[in-house]
Symmetry: C2
Subunit: 765 residues, 2 copies
């Protein structure tokens, strides 16, 4: 271990999170907690049809209700087309949404909004709005939407109900690859509609000041993108829109979007000259929120007898719902992910994204890759069975290695995936497990499965990203980091403060973080793509380096040595190899209260992409009488470069596994396929695993492939854990009961059906 | 006029102030307007004795009053010695104040504070606090305080009741100078106790969060200094104290201090775990605020027959009141000012500052110079009369010139003073006025007088100052300036935005200013010493230059030329001498919504000092029957380098003249010289000139001596106008009625007494 590494004291330590006390004491304020003088409450009337034109809308009775201050419909809001998702703003195909339209495209779409003095009055007023619809034929499945003559949901895009032109990735020659194969497997894999189900419902509050400046308080992952779209849609220059985000109760990708609400909230506030807050009910987080894209993945692969992959072909179709949102990005990232993970020279992939009259799908942790790797990693398991090879060994044989070209077109660093699988094998005693005698307890069957994944930190090359930071040192040596990164609740700002403290050689407690104010902090693209610590953290480190340079130059003058001879640690600047030192405070402050100079550093970091890896080893127990599946234990092994905050990283992993167990076994936001009506938009009918449902998780974090681009070598960990858990569970179920499931969620009734079918096929004809 | 000068479009234009609409509509929020959930109101019990020990203080009845949440006295607050004034924090002699002490040193000093749910309950609770004092002998005048055996007000400082060791300035040989003189004049001049009487009473609100961070909302000129002292006294690191200032209703120097209230407010908030606001009543702005230092200036000068000054000797004594506050600074600046204005080779000056049991004097526009130049400029007028020389010519003969050494030990730029006097002579037709026939209308007598001054922008060399700024460009080319400068209501942030807009070639409206948040903006020493536009403005310009450089490098790539070939104006970057150009927006934004790079500039400016000059020509009318003095017109001529905002500069000048008329003719905060009791702590008994009392003011602004250190050559104008008006009025009164007044305020009864004495002396014995 080098001296440099040895001297690190803050990086790699699970310091107390800087948002902890506020959250524990309830002192941390969320947008819903804000008390503002004169605040009005906005509520949304949502359509009870899936596809229709609004023939007539009458708001007079609502407006007459005492306490109602304004009602907006498509008749009195600006008709501006915009991208509901700020993310791929250059992809005009997703510029498909109006603030309010005279057409509704899914059951639950916003039709009108009311601002009133209380939530109750606003709610009552919604009931007084009369809407007459002219029904249009609706389609809910991608098959129906792609059928010739299907009703068109939008009159834009590449044609039909396609959100974008199909994406195609080709490598080598698949026909040749399949011709060389000893074994060809082919199957259709299907993903349901889980939702992120964040604790804090979507909320925003808007206020205009006397100078025509708009302030927006909002729970968002992408404050600057919100600013940009709000300014564009409302016709304001950027410096007249201030977006403020403090604490957030989760986002998981979905809080990148704008949900119509924000524009309407701003317009209600302008109309009434009062602050207005709009907060989603839990039901509305389903109706007006974003789910993961339901997907169908047709996947075909060829293998040599020894397990070598010879060809891979796939057709991926994502159901975008009524609007495009992140559809293009998800299609690109999800489909192109199939170029990697397991090496293959002959590849042909097609990805499609399709409008339907279903709830809007958007960005959600895993971003298309959950769906495609679910297919890929289950099919690898199928191949292992068919070839009679240990699935771990099959995956190791084909695992991407150092130097392989990633979907981002960059050579990978380190043998991350291999390291994860091998370490997992050790941890669970894989060899012994493979050879074990299966013990069964009554109807209970146990099995083990493996899921693998790799995931990039940053949205490069799809988006040319940049991380930015300003670091300033106070005159007592304490430090302020100004960052545009968002804190979704993951502890990102703790990690960034650690990085700055480490770089500047000051105690972690001496660094405070200013964030969530677009007027103040440097630009940031938002928190997504697992890039906050990687990209924002590196920018913070670079800005801190800048301040350190200034500090050492100053101290060099005071200590009468060259700045090169100095080091800073624990708040003291010392001459290396001597006992001569001064405190950081004395270097900063010339005279009591007056800094000797300004110690301010500003930095921009343009990342490419680094990849993190994981292998999840999962044990399940299936009750063959009830069909119940219980995950008994998970051993997730993650390679994420240098770990900044071990407990925080482990928390991300455990949380991702919990969500992954959810979408694999329980969660599916369902609609009536005749009417499009939402069936389970609440936490009673939409089942999620609770803490008591969680198995023991024995997390192992490897640091074998640090990325020189990340701060101190760190890479992202945000999305990885949700990807590998799904196929690991499906593979473990197969290991337990011999029934292969190629979809999620896998429900008890399907287990029973599967067992019954297995029984039938095994019985003599 | 150079091309560079010609191309300026924003500098020198009276753009609409960026705080205008908010202030006109009432939308601008001051600390007193803030509504905070759970807010408690703090009130202060003030002593009704001038000098005493507190023998007993009983708060039990107050605490028992329903609604009272906390009561603090010297018995339950930390005993920390601090400087009430943050300004000369290194001058330990003024570290003379406790948060609350067991001794009171003037009538009206804080003795206890109460926090309650309403202001009324807090007020009622004050009446329930029992205090038993042990009286100590008190002194109210500097003579009494300096008398041997006088009661000691503090047990610190250099001894006796001196606030600091006397300051001495010597040049040449005064004895020799007086020996060479044909005329020696000697007199004692005296200044009263005017107060700044800002519209917005002192106010602060404090709140602690769950992480132990303190937020302070306060009307202050020196947010970072407040942060520093609050942190020190409360034992917090700087990054745990956030000081917020938005709009201010004036400060005039006095809002540099801490008024005990701030610490007490923070302690009440900590004690009650609730936000607490403390707002001074109008009476308290007198009792607990800061006045100008009452002063006595003994001045002796020698002249040759032709008017040449041969020697100047002075003893200046400032009455600091019960605490030191800005006493040292005022003594140094006020006394050393007598080294300049009128050239003299032989000088000996002594300055003293003395504790008394009087209200606390502090910083107030003019900062000691009002008092000493009042003496100097009246004595120059006396000399002119005695020598039979036109006073304008006598002043011109001795006026400081380019290259003369200023009190800051820097050579002066330009013949600023001479320019002002000569221009004033032209404006008023001085030669004709001198030779005119005096017309009298009944008892009314008219006269003209001249007052001169020079005043430095920045506190250099007393304080090693620095201006700081961060400029960032949004992705649509709009701009944010982050500055620590304070906006007292003078339009400083408009001037700074103009400077940034000019430098970046974008419209003024495209620049917004973030200020008043110590967590966010770069460090600033505060708004005083007429340095905001000069120093803060220059830093803003430098930061903008930095951004411009980045922008031109980017545009050079796009336009495929060298950055040197580019200019930016009106939001467009063009190749000089061609019609090729791109918009700033296109240079900034690579892709819709994503900036091509970060355009952030940070700059620090270490100023020395620049001097502005003024000559005020004033006409007064004296009613010899009533003694009433009416200022009929003022022709202020100011040399302030490049003017950024003409209307703003003129506003400063007019406001200064109004305050100067006030202190010269009306304003005097008085105490009972037996008990120390305040006599006129309200706007009924403390008279100020109202708008209807104001004469026509024909302001002339010269730009003859721009300072290369200032932004575009600008210098300060904040303090200048209040200095010259006083002696101009006194000299005009002499011109009108032949009675010489050597003090302020000059009251009607004194005019009548003076006329009576004149009559007596003229009557044959």
């Amino acid at each position: 271990m080098s001296a440099d590494v040895m001297s690190r004291s803050i990086i790699g330590t699970s310091v107390r999170r800087n948002d902890l006390l506020g959250k524990v004491t309830g002192d941390a304020k969320y947008v819903a907690d804000m008390q503002m003088p004169g605040l009005l409450h906005g509520k949304t009337l949502r359509s009870n049809v899936a596809h229709a034109r609004i023939k007539r809308i009458d708001t007079r009775r609502a407006l007459a209700l005492p306490g109602v201050k304004a009602v907006l419909t498509h008749l009195n809001v600006p008709r501006v087309l915009h991208a509901g998702s700020p993310h791929p703003r250059s992809a005009s195909v997703t510029c498909d949404q109006y603030i309010l339209d005279d057409k509704v495209r899914y059951w639950g779409e916003s039709v009108a909004v009311v601002a009133a003095t209380t939530e109750e009055i606003a709610e009552e007023a919604l009931g007084l709005i009369e809407v007459e619809y002219e029904a249009l034929p609706a389609v809910f499945t991608v098959e129906d939407a792609l059928r010739p003559g299907a009703p068109l949901i939008h009159d834009r895009g590449p044609g039909g109900n396609l959100v974008l032109e199909p994406v195609v990735y080709t490598r080598g020659d698949v026909a040749k690859g399949f011709a060389e194969a000893d074994l060809i497997l082919e199957g259709e894999y299907e993903g349901g509609r889980p939702t992120p189900a964040y604790m804090e419902p979507n909320v925003c509050a808007c206020q205009w000041d006397g100078n025509g400046n708009l302030t927006v308080w909002i729970s968002t992952q992408t404050a600057f993108m919100v600013r940009g779209i709000m300014a564009e849609v409302l016709g304001l220059p950027l410096h007249k829109v201030r977006v403020l985000v403090d604490h957030m109760g989760g986002g998981f990708g979905a809080k990148q979007d704008l949900f119509q609400t924000e524009f309407l909230c701003a317009l209600l506030a302008r109309e009434t000259c009062r602050p207005v807050r709009m907060e989603f009910s839990r039901e509305e987080t389903f109706l007006g929120g974003r789910s993961r894209h339901p997907a169908k993945v047709w996947l075909k692969q060829g293998f040599k007898k020894d397990g070598t992959l010879t060809a891979r072909q796939a057709r991926v179709v994502f159901n975008s719902g009524a609007y495009g949102s992140h559809g293009p990005g998800v299609t690109i990232v999800g489909t192109s992910a199939l170029t990697s993970l397991y090496r293959c020279e002959n590849i042909h992939l097609e990805g499609r994204c399709v409008y339907t009259n279903s709830p809007i799908a958007g960005a959600y942790r895993g971003y298309g890759v959950v769906q495609t790797y679910y297919a890929l990693d289950i099919q690898m398991d199928e191949a292992a069975v068919a070839l009679g090879i240990d699935p771990a060994e099959l995956k190791l044989k084909n695992a991407v290695r150092e130097g392989d070209i990633a979907p981002s077109n960059h050579p990978l660093i380190g043998h991350g995936l291999e390291d994860c699988v091998r370490r997992g094998q050790q941890e669970v005693g894989w060899a012994a497990l493979r050879g074990r005698e299966r013990t069964t307890t009554g109807a209970l069957r146990r099995g083990w499965g493996i899921g693998c994944e790799m995931h990039g930190s940053s949205a490069y090359p799809g988006i040319k990203e940049q991380g930015n930071a300003i670091v300033k040192m106070n005159e007592d040596g304490t430090v302020v980091l100004l960052t545009g990164t968002a804190g979704l609740g993951t502890g990102a700002h703790t990690a960034l403060a650690q990085i700055v403290a480490e770089e500047l050689g000051v105690p972690f407690e001496n660094v405070s973080v200013v964030h969530g104010d677009t007027d103040v902090v440097p630009w940031d693209i938002g928190a997504f793509a697992s890039h906050t610590t990687f990209m924002g953290g590196r920018a913070a480190q670079m800005a801190a380096t800048e301040v350190k340079k200034q500090l050492l130059v100053r101290a060099a003058g005071q200590l009468e040595v060259s700045a090169d001879a100095l080091q800073v640690r624990d708040g003291a600047i010392s001459v290396v190899g001597t006992d001569r030192s001064i405190t950081v405070r004395d270097a900063v402050c010339a005279k009591k209260g007056i800094p000797a100079a300004q110690f301010v550093g500003s930095a921009t970091y343009y990342p490419t992409k680094s990849y993190s890896f994981a292998a999840h080893f999962v044990e399940v127990e299936v009750d063959t009488e009830t069909g119940q599946i219980e995950v008994k234990q998970v051993v997730p092994v993650h390679e994420i470069g240098k770990v900044i905050h071990p407990v925080g990283a482990a928390g991300q992993i455990e949380g991702g596994i919990q969500q992954g167990i959810g979408h694999t076994l329980y969660e599916d936001y369902q609609i009536d396929l005749r009417t499009g009506r939402s069936l389970n938009a609440n936490f009673v009918d939409y089942k999620m695993p609770l803490s008591m449902d969680m198995p023991p998780i024995h997390t192992v974090i490897l640091e074998t492939a640090p990325d020189p681009g990340g701060p101190f070598g760190a890479k992202g960990v945000g999305e990885d854990p949700i990807v590998a858990i799904g196929p690991a569970i499906a593979n473990a179920i197969f290991d337990a009961i011999g029934v292969r499931f190629r979809h999620y969620p896998i429900k008890p009734e399907q287990v029973l059906q599967g067992l019954a079918a297995q029984q039938t096929s095994r019985s003599p004809a």
